[in-house]
């Protein structure tokens, strides 16, 4: 039942097949606007996906430059390059931009491009809403970045914007920061609603939930998390807005409020938020490892259940970010144990990836390199997370560079490596060309050296007591910081290679067939490369040649 498979397709690896032409060419469409209007008015999931990805890459460099300002200042002890006040704005803006403008839009961009292709849908369920979700982002982040130019400077209280630093003692521009975050939040909620409606309602006939590729599953669960917690963020920043501008006392004990309330509300959003930034990464890696190990994913069903378990647990662990604020002992214990529980489903996932590799015919193309690095380095980040989960130990680690090392290990070689793996994996589908192998390999090795040189020494600096978010430090931390700063500039520079590979790949390169990777099985590989603007206008009939597990 696989009529239009490319010649090199090896049937024994295929678990899905498509009946009916995969790409009935477009029936007459309304003339598509040209030039800039095409991008402003588009309702096409592929074009909107590209917009998200380009926006994300741009913001990745903006946030990266902020990080390099921080690392330049920390290159040696003492204050040399920037004022402490500006240093604070840089740490804050780096975090905000990377979380809300780089990582989240990158995953949404991949979702836009790939979910309709992976489930055999003609487009997203609500195409106009999709365009709206995207175009809110440039507006939100232009507004956010503009705060740097306002009197008093931009946000300077860290990306977690704890009250009362962000209320009583905040710069005047904080109101604009809140409004920008509101716009970004609306964008995320509407985007997530669209993704959930697409997955639940637009699957090809015959495709059951348990037939969906894991990228689709992880995004379904991520979208649920987004809809559940972005409104809570909206609520908490609204309370900040009221405290700043209307004299309320939500986070002011003098009026009967509580700054710790801010932290509870923020982290009730914030902890699911960090899983929002990692679950789609799990999905990408779960697509790539089976492809290049040429084996079906080990434990498909357990992957789905583990993802769901991680998502549900993420609502019950938020106060592990707050072990030192003076929680009751019961709360310390509850949040310590619930946090450790997350290691179980995460362990299931790592076990499944490794077992998929076991006795596979592995080849090391760029997407696979990034995916393998993800498994190893994300696990390191997971283990340091487990260390931080131990409440009494966290009293020592809290607000040190150990925490910085931990979350950068899960976000940079975790989330961002997975995004890059996904981009290398799907570039042939998007552009019709393979990325330049030699340059991509070079990008990988530079990245992995850079990322470890930057973040590994931070563990030691943190364990020795170096506090985060401070522009100066004691002499004994000088060597670690020198290494981190060299690594950061090296890592930053090597990302220019990534841009080069992507640009070259869009412009030309070795032609890719529909099924660009020998071991790939999902529906997206049944449409031509590059994927035509409209795919699956007549839904394909999905057949389960064999069960996922």
């Amino acid at each position: 039942m696989a009529p239009k498979l490319p010649p090199q397709h090896s049937l024994q690896h295929s678990s899905t097949a498509v009946a009916g032409g995969p790409s009935q060419e477009h029936h007459a469409h309304v003339a598509h606007p040209k030039g800039v209007m095409r991008w402003l008015l588009t309702t096409n999931h592929k074009e909107i996906g590209s917009l998200y990805l380009i926006f994300s890459l741009t913001m990745f460099f903006v946030g990266g430059i902020f990080a390099l300002v921080v690392r330049a200042e920390l290159f040696q002890p003492g204050l040399q390059l920037v004022e402490p006040e500006f240093f604070n704005q840089m740490t804050t803006m780096h975090g905000l931009i990377m979380v809300f403008a780089a990582v989240m839009p990158a995953f949404t961009g991949l979702a836009n491009w790939m979910i309709p292709l992976q489930i055999g849908a003609p487009d997203m369920a609500l195409p106009r809403l999709n365009n709206f979700s995207f175009w809110l982002l440039p507006i939100a982040f232009t507004l956010l970045l503009s705060t740097l130019l306002m009197p008093g400077g931009g946000p300077n209280f860290g990306w977690t914007f704890y009250a009362p630093l962000s209320t009583t003692y905040a710069p005047a521009s904080t109101t604009f920061f809140i409004l920008a975050l509101h716009i970004a939040g609306i964008s995320s909620i509407l985007g997530a609603i669209n993704i959930i409606a697409t997955i639940l309602n637009m699957r090809a006939p015959g495709m059951r939930m348990m037939d969906m590729p894991l990228f689709v599953w992880t995004w379904l669960i991520t979208a649920f998390l987004l809809i559940a917690v972005m409104p809570v963020l909206a609520g908490v920043i609204t309370m900040m807005l009221m405290d700043i501008n209307f004299g309320t006392s939500f986070f002011d004990a003098a009026g009967g409020g509580d700054p710790v309330l801010f932290q509870h509300l923020f982290w009730f959003f914030g902890h699911p938020e960090v899983y929002i930034m990692i679950l789609p990464a799990f999905g990408i890696v779960s697509a790539i490892i089976p492809t290049f190990a040429r084996k079906p994913l080990f434990g498909y069903a357990s992957m789905v259940y583990a993802t769901a378990a991680i998502a549900l647990l993420s609502f019950l662990v938020w106060a592990h970010h707050m072990f030192i604020v003076g929680l009751p002992l019961t709360a310390e214990l509850f949040f310590m144990y619930s946090t450790m529980l997350i290691a179980v489903p995460t362990g299931v996932k790592v076990f499944n990836w490794v077992t998929t590799l076991f006795r596979g015919s592995i080849s090391f193309e760029p997407p696979m390199l990034f995916a393998l690095a993800f498994v190893v380095l994300f696990t390191i980040g997971g283990f340091s997370g487990l260390m931080l989960a131990i409440a009494p130990a966290d009293f020592q680690y809290h607000d040190t560079y150990f925490v910085v090392a931990h979350f950068h290990y899960v976000l940079v070689p975790g989330a961002i490596f997975a995004i890059m793996a996904g981009v290398y994996y799907w570039l042939p589908k998007w552009t019709g060309h393979y990325p330049n192998e030699r340059l991509a390999q070079c990008h990988f090795w530079c990245s992995i050296i850079g990322v470890n040189l930057t973040f590994f020494p931070m563990h030691f600096a943190g364990l020795a007591g170096m506090p985060r978010r401070i522009p100066d430090y004691a002499l004994q931390f000088a060597d670690f910081n020198l290494l981190s700063s060299i690594g950061a500039f090296f890592f930053g520079a090597s990302q220019l290679l990534f841009v080069l590979v992507v640009v070259l790949c869009v412009r030309g390169g070795q032609k890719a067939p529909a099924k660009a990777w020998e071991g790939a099985v999902d529906l997206e590989w049944s449409v031509p490369s590059p994927a035509p603007l409209h795919t699956f206008e007549t839904p394909p009939v999905f057949h389960r040649a064999q069960s996922h597990d």
């Binding site: 849908a121 909620i189 006392s249 409020g257």
Partner: protein, 286 residues
């Protein structure tokens, strides 16, 4: 599952115009709050958002009445509206959560319970109580007294619960094809919504002028106004939605068996009603 006739609009100018309008509105709000200027931008943005919503919905209504939507599209709208309401539930959950946290933990701790001694040193005379009429610091003046739940709030509760019933009658009438009945009961629902808004306005006036319940009146005023205020905004939006449904009923829109626009409005109204019941119990009664 898909029948192959899923409608994908070619292009649309409303999303980009809507984003620009929302951006203008937000910048306007910021300029007004921070620099006390920019009111025109705020108004232009707000009018822009409203007009874009109107024009966008007009397109959707035309497409729907033009028969471009199949049952799969209908399900997309249902999922979309359902999850949107869930996001609204979580938005209110943040405010309810804040209220519960303040009442359960913060106030007793400020009073010295549980070895949280610092606040007892700052404000040794503080007596924990709810409603909090005596904020810890003398610089914050609390409310003089609180509103009785058994007067205007009870009336408003009865009004909203009744409105949910009248709306259900209107919906059932539409399903049975009694359009005249539907129109009358829907008009009644809109009237009840308007009554609620007016009474809530009167209550706010009373709160500010006779009870000393203001935004500045410590945590009681803050939680009171953020919960009832956002609920009030939702009632206003819900009433506008129902009013536009009334116009559409009068214009002869909606089929007996296919009227998700109407149904979605009902979902939204019932949600607003349920939130009020929660408010009545936890903000006013207990």
């Amino acid at each position: 599952m898909s029948s192959g006739s899923y409608y994908v609009p070619a292009t649309s100018r409303w999303p980009i115009l809507g984003s620009l309008a929302l951006g203008a509105m937000m910048v306007g709000i910021g300029l007004k709050l921070v620099f006390d200027t920019g009111a025109p931008l705020l108004i232009i943005g707000l009018l822009g958002v409203i007009s874009v919503m109107g024009l966008w919905f007009r397109d959707v209504i035309h497409e729907s009445m033009g028969g471009l939507y199949d049952t799969q599209m209908d399900r997309s709208f249902r999922w979309g509206m359902g999850w949107f309401i869930f996001s609204e539930v979580m938005f209110f959950a943040a405010f309810f959560g804040a209220l519960f946290y303040i009442r359960t933990f913060t106030i007793p701790w400020l009073g010295g319970e549980g070895a949280k001694g610092v606040s007892a040193l700052l404000w040794p005379g503080f007596v924990p109580q709810w409603p909090l009429l005596n904020p810890p610091d003398a610089a914050v003046s609390g409310p003089t007294s609180v509103l009785s739940p058994w007067q205007l709030p009870l009336v408003n509760t009865l009004i909203l619960v009744t409105s949910s019933i009248t709306l259900t009658v209107a919906h059932e009438a539409l399903k049975l094809g009694y359009r005249q009945t539907c129109r009358n009961w829907l008009a009644g629902t809109v009237m009840l919504g308007l009554c609620f808004i007016v009474i809530q306005g009167v209550e706010y006036y009373e709160a500010y002028h006779h009870y000393g319940i203001t935004l500045e009146a410590g945590i009681f005023g803050a939680t009171f106004f953020i919960l009832t205020g956002f609920h009030g905004i939702h009632v206003i939006i819900g009433t506008l939605i129902l009013a536009s449904m009334l116009v559409r009923i009068i214009k002869g829109h909606f089929a007996n068996d296919h009227h998700f626009g109407f149904e979605a409005s009902c979902w939204y109204w019932h949600f607003v009603d349920v939130v009020w019941v929660g408010l009545f119990i936890f903000v006013y009664v207990f």
